[in-house]
């Protein structure tokens, strides 16, 4: 095994602007409250508690902050959906169920800077009027859960949790709640069901918008780990000032996680939209592996539609329309959407010309078939059908109609399910097959007729493209 790649003292890339990740890999840093307070920690909480809750929400609205979990919905607007005449308790939930393949940012915040998250949660709880906040952390972060619990204990001892926080009338408790390995718990209504001790079957919206009918049918705000950390920086800088970072409508910084066939995979905090895909791959990640060419990129977690090298996209630039290539796409919410994909959760997976797209899609299909909660028929059945078809194609049992069948299954899931998992599982199939039809057609020639089809073994050996 290699020594941990992310060693203390590792310098951020010059193109980065570190706010959320300021303390990640920082020399001499540790996640204790002493370090955090000595570094100015919890000052922003105290400053925010001097404002009225509504004023905090106004700052967050003014900042233009958009959720970093996947959908990119404006955080302040989400908070504003709590019914004004509400008399029920209000809950805040921190979504730490980081599980979209390709995404690995929350892990480092939780492990290396837990107090930043706690401060963000407390400020946000104050703004929305929550007296109880839950951190729903995925079960696969056992160490992270312990670090958070310790940090919460430290904060309590410092008078920053419980009643009369920092000498004010504000009271709030934070509890860590561990999930149990289900991807669907990252969907906010599924997460709420799970937190209620049930199977995480997502709820239908309307009427179950969490801000009105959430946990225990009370108003509930569910925000991603990174989003809650941004709230702290919004309040530290002021909403307007924060809104100057990044680009209009795509404000602030965000963490991009790059994996796959680049020289130096890793995480990079950049101003939203101030860096292009080409710069990300070439400058920050050291380019493609030796002798290899870029073939495709999944720009925002595995459910985001794939982008193919050599494609051109038409985007608006002010009043003008212009054509750009894959490498020219600025990494922001709106441009990636205009290019037919999404910024999602910031997980960028890069693939080179050695990769067989049918193998890649099969891996993704296997994930979604495993993780479909099973509530809606199109998704439960369709995700498994797509996996079975790509399994069979890789094992040499493909038939010519498979390509069309794959797309039609995908087309019949999206838009027909309670939650966005339907789209998440069909977008990869629609985009991979749509953009690389030749690679899927290649697998429709029967190669192994009569041989046992053992998908896993075949899949492993088929990881590189057939050269025939």
């Amino acid at each position: 095994m290699a020594e941990p790649r992310y060693i203390t003292g590792k310098k951020p890339h010059a193109r980065e602007k570190r706010m959320i990740f300021r303390n990640v890999d920082r020399a001499g840093w540790n996640p204790s409250i002493e370090k955090y307070i000595k570094d100015g920690g919890y000052k922003t909480l105290k400053k925010s508690l001097k404002l009225k809750p509504g004023e905090v929400t106004d700052e967050v609205k003014a900042s233009g902050l958009r959720g970093r979990g996947g959908a990119g919905f404006p955080t302040g607007v989400k908070w504003g959906f709590i019914p004004p005449n509400n008399t029920k308790p209000i809950y805040l939930i921190c979504n730490a169920d980081e599980s979209e393949p390709g995404t690995f940012k929350d892990r480092y915040i939780i492990h290396q800077d837990p107090h930043q998250l706690i401060e963000g949660i407390l400020i946000s709880s104050y703004a929305v009027g929550a007296k109880i906040a839950y951190i729903y952390i995925r079960e696969e972060f056992p160490e992270g859960a312990i670090i958070l619990e310790n940090a919460i204990e430290e904060a309590r001892k410092a008078g920053l949790l419980g009643k009369g926080i920092a000498g004010t009338g504000f009271e709030c408790e934070i509890y860590v709640h561990r999930g149990a390995g289900a991807y669907i718990c990252g969907e906010e209504t599924g997460l709420i069901e799970s937190l209620e001790g049930k199977r995480p079957y997502p709820r239908i919206k309307p009427p179950y918008f969490p801000a009105a009918l959430g946990l225990y049918m009370c108003p509930t705000i569910v925000n991603n780990v990174e989003s809650l950390c941004h709230v702290k920086h919004v309040m530290e800088m002021g909403g307007k000032q924060y809104g100057q970072l990044g680009t209009p409508r795509n404000t602030g910084t965000r963490i991009l996680c790059v994996s796959g066939d680049v020289q130096k995979p890793g995480y990079f905090e950049i101003e939203v939209g101030k860096l292009t895909m080409g710069e990300l791959i070439e400058d920050l990640c050291g380019g493609m592996k030796k002798g290899r060419k870029l073939k495709a990129v999944i720009p925002g977690g595995s459910s985001a539609k794939v982008l193919r090298a050599g494609e051109t996209y038409t985007i608006r630039d002010g009043d003008q329309e212009k054509n750009i290539g894959l490498n020219d796409i600025p990494m922001d919410f709106d441009t990636l959407a205009a290019c037919g994909s999404m910024a999602g959760s910031g997980g960028v997976i890069v693939m080179d010309d050695s990769r067989d797209m049918a193998w890649v899609l099969n891996n993704i299909n296997t994930f979604y078939a495993h993780e479909s909660c099973g509530q809606c028929t199109p998704c439960r059945e369709g995700s498994l059908w797509m996996k079975k078809i790509t399994d069979r194609m890789l094992a040499g049992g493909g038939v010519p109609s498979d390509v069309e069948t794959l797309v039609s299954v995908g087309d019949n899931i999206a838009g027909r399910t309670i939650c966005a998992f339907g789209e998440a599982c069909s977008w990869p199939t629609q985009s991979f097959v749509g953009k690389f039809p030749e690679e899927f057609k290649k697998h429709t020639k029967r190669r192994n007729v009569g041989k046992a089809l053992n998908p896993e073994a075949k899949v492993a050996s088929a990881s590189l493209m057939d050269k025939d």
Binding site: S99, G102, F104, A180, G181, K198, S259
Partner: protein, 165 residues
């Protein structure tokens, strides 16, 4: 199943994190406590958790069968979870899985969706694939118990297993 005083107290502490009339919320925390102590969740454990939360046992059993993080059979002394998802697969997790199984003497030919865990003949190690462990930049990654390991290439399998006596 023997419920120690410590386990019972930990369960009560977990239940106190939720509103008094919403005890069911403590289902996952209690199941984690049970699995931590016994390695898996038996039928008796399901009944005990249900009685602690004052709900029907089926409402607990349906969680154990749904969530991939819960087991109904005893794993090995050390349970290994190898990430199977895209970035780890691109960096060779299938080969790592094969090598670990070879060294530990684990036969995975009978694993299935409903029975994903294979145990070594001597009971020391058990293994399964996990879906995305969220460390895509350092694949292949795996969890051994609660310990996280990065960049576990096939050649590293031997050294990894040697850490667990």
């Amino acid at each position: 199943m023997e419920v120690t005083k410590e386990l019972d107290e930990k369960a009560d502490e977990a239940i106190s994190h939720y509103p008094a009339d919403e005890k069911r919320s403590a289902a996952l925390p209690l199941l984690h406590l049970v699995q931590q102590q016994f390695g898996f969740i038996s039928d008796d454990a399901v009944s005990w958790v249900a009685s602690k939360l004052e709900i029907e046992p089926i409402k607990i059993l349906e969680l154990v069968t749904f969530y991939p993080g819960f087991r109904q059979k005893a794993p090995g002394k050390y349970h290994i979870r190898v990430c199977r998802t895209l970035s780890c697969a691109m960096s060779g997790c299938h080969q790592t899985m094969e090598r670990i199984c070879e060294i530990a003497g684990i036969d995975r030919s009978n694993v299935s969706h409903h029975d994903p865990i294979a145990v070594s003949a001597d009971g020391k190690f058990s293994i399964e694939f996990a879906e995305c462990l969220a460390s895509c930049g350092t694949g292949p990654v795996c969890l051994v118990g609660d310990d996280f390991h990065e960049e576990v290439k096939p050649k590293d399998a031997k050294a990894l297993l040697a850490k667990y006596k």
